[in-house]
Amino acid sequence: MEFIDHLALGFGIALSPETLMYCFIGVTLGTFIGVLPGIGPLATIGLLLPVTFHLPPTEAIIMIAGLYYGAMYGGSTTAILLNLPGTAASVVVALDGHPMAQQGRAGPALVMTTLVSFAAACVAIVIIALFAPPLAQFALRFGSPEYFSLMLAGLLGAAVLVNGSLIKGIAMVILGLLLGMVGQDVTSGIPRFTFGSMSLYDGMGFVVVIIGLFGLAEVLNNVALGEKRERFVGKVPWRDLVPTRKDLRDSAGATARGTGLGSLLGLLPGAGPAMSTFAAYAVEKKVAKDPSRFGKGAIEGIAAPEAANNAAAQTSFIPTLSLGVPGDATMALILGAMMMHGLVPGPQIVTSSPDFFWALIASFWIGNLLLLILNLPLVGIWIKMLSIPYRIMFPAIVTFISIGMYSLHLEIFDVFLAAGFGLVGYLFIKLRCEAAPLLLGLILGPMVEENLRRSMLISRGDFSIFFTRPISLSFLILAVFIIAIVLGPGLYRRWKARAA
């Protein structure tokens, strides 16, 4: 079996003490830096990239890959414990993860994210190893019209995701789209809604908005609740740190579905990874027997998006490695690092540098295993954070947020923007509006617009371009289907009432 030989070659290199050490350093640093509010994988890799210049190419890339997973995992940790998500993916994980933490079940939630990440990564790695080149070709069939239709379906899906009123969900998506318009328009280069401020020229920082809407709003809400605040006190016995049999059983299906969705969407540059977590969550809510549990600490609500996020993180290496085209800013950084080390990405990398390619694949797996080993003992320590009195914790959180926001672009404006969004987020909590759909609107808004305008340029203004291309049409049908399953039951009841 050639495949086994290849993997053996990869593991041989990845398991050498030196490589293993760099992988471990990457994962550990990534986790600890990723725990800081607002510092996601991109910032972490950007900060530590120069360190890797002094390493041999394979070790350097493996360490960077380790940083990537570590930072993602660290982001989930703060999202669950403190409702401080730093990435689009952890916003979704926090929806049910943070309620679990408030119920004293932070342990199972954290262990579950580790287990699920590992499982999803294992599957996605096999997919990369076996199918990378054909999947990359499939990704190329996504042109501007396909992206537009996919994102339209994704935005509708995000509106479905909310608990409660659909109108509120759609309103939040639209508010997100509007916020996404702020800044320079890529197609014409003209600044919009910047009020002449240079600080808004690049649009509102996505991380700034997340930290404000979720992190600061959470702090404000807890302060406002005062003594009525749900407080978690008391000791957690060691056995309560691990998920129960029921947790495992409940999340098995969710993990599988999330992995599938994530593996597919991860192939699509830009929109894929962020959308996959939202899509996975929406799917779980739809297939669940009792959707009302979601948002209140349903374990499936953690398992599915976490699986999707990790599978997507893995498969997003496919376009990067086999086409040499980076999927997102983080991938671009990894690609740049590869090129600086003289590794030219492309399909030939599998044959020209087999040791590098298979060692990287193997290190994906080992990196995830290291995360598992590293984080299980750490879970106990993270949980201790929850018993810190709030009068100490809140000022600390606000301080860390301020430092994180300032360090993004070294702009004090970002700190104030986050504070402003904190107030807005608190208002949303009072109005019972979920902020998660807003974020997807904010991320996808500029992409939706660009792809729409490009499609129109390509078709010379003919809207049929969206209906005559099979992939695009499929997504539009999916969009109609999403509307139908949401509006359907209500309309049916009304029709029945009238008939009776």
Binding site: L42, G46, L49, P50, F53, L140, R141, F142, G143, S144, Q184, V186, T187, S188, G189, M198, Y201, D202, P269, L323, G324, V325, P326, A329, M331, A332, L333, I334, L335, G336, M339, M340, G342, V344, P345, G346, P347, Q348, H409, E450, R454, L457, I458, R460
Partner: protein, 325 residues
């Protein structure tokens, strides 16, 4: 500052004194890390070239470089912040045809002057814009593209890394000189535009060489012509666009290092010396730049670099004025 005070004879001692202070300050330079602003996103050609040259330069200066990617508006956002940065020698920036010529001309108010607000230090590299098509297409030469476009006016699509970007202008220049009528499809960056050729969403692209080089090597893209005066050393079989029949066509991206205006002359001279020596003599750097699709070049002096920028601004001003879409 000494220039302002010099005419005042009564204060003759002060310029001498301040120059002494300046010299001592420069003598210890650099004593801490240097921030290098890269006005484009990570992984793009400016980023790759900037970091490829930045790393060995940092080794030579004995201080780490902190790279700051500040993309947006064809590199003008980051360049604006570089122009107002502290001119103590600890903030440098990578500038290019895009930021110091094209972007300055295309955008209404970039908020900086490409020469007056900077101390140009030295060129580091030059890369051609490469006319690329999909390998399954019927286009095997520059002439094929021109013929097809002339027979079917307004039928072909060409891409760019954004409206008003250098990839856009180099294609407009081509269309104008070859008398071709095609539709412009802007993308978010070089990577996206390259993917669009791979997926056959656009027919042709004047791609930045570092961005398309690996795809050309993998035969996922077909290179028809390079925009430089001479053929690229990495692609000896690909003619220049001029050789292929478009008389006078020249489209290159040069990249160089800048300091904010008012940076100490001694620091500028020191940096220029190090960069010029490194680009001329360090084989590892030259090879690393070539591997990334960039030809190592340096300026004889900072003034030389300023003169080049001036002439480029004039050349592109004509094109921007002529081609008014």
């Amino acid at each position: 500052m000494p220039m302002l005070i010099k005419p005042l004879a009564t204060l003759a001692a002060i310029p001498a004194l301040s120059m002494m202070i300046a010299t001592t300050a420069a003598a210890d330079y650099p004593e801490r890390e240097i921030r290098l602003i890269i006005p484009f996103g990570a992984g793009g050609s400016t980023d790759i070239v900037g970091r490829t040259a930045g790393q060995p330069l940092s080794d030579r200066l004995g201080q780490p470089f902190v790279y700051e990617n500040r993309g947006g508006a064809g590199g003008t956002v980051g360049t604006r912040s570089a122009s107002t940065a502290n001119n103590n020698g600890y903030t440098l920036s990578v500038g290019s045809t895009s930021t110091h010529a094209v972007g300055y001309l295309v955008h209404d108010d970039v908020g900086y002057h490409p020469i007056d607000d900077f101390e140009p230090i030295s060129l580091i590299a030059e890369t051609p814009y490469v006319l690329v098509v999909h390998p399954d297409s019927d286009f095997h030469s520059v002439q094929d593209v021109i013929d097809h476009a002339q027979e079917n006016p307004g039928d072909m699509n060409f891409g760019s890394a954004g409206a008003g970007s250098t990839t856009h202008l180099s294609a407009l220049m081509f269309n104008d000189m070859a008398d071709v009528d095609a539709v412009h499809i802007p993308y978010e960056g070089n990577a996206e535009a390259t993917t669009a050729v791979l997926g056959r969403e656009i027919d042709y692209l004047f791609g930045s060489f570092p961005a398309v080089y690996s795809a050309i090597q993998n035969e996922q893209l077909r290179a028809l012509g390079v925009g430089t005066e001479n053929r690229a050393s990495q692609l000896p079989d690909v003619p220049t666009v001029e050789e292929a029949g478009v008389d006078g066509y020249l489209a290159t991206l040069w990249l160089g290092i800048f300091a904010p205006a008012g940076t100490d002359d001694d620091i500028v001279a020191q940096l220029h010396g190090e960069i010029a020596d490194m680009i001329e003599n360090d084989e590892a750097v030259r090879e690393a730049l070539r591997d990334n699709g960039a030809e190592p070049v340096f300026s004889e002096s900072p003034d030389d670099f300023a003169t080049l920028i001036e002439s480029e601004i004039e050349r592109y001003r004509e094109i921007v004025d002529n081609i008014d879409e």
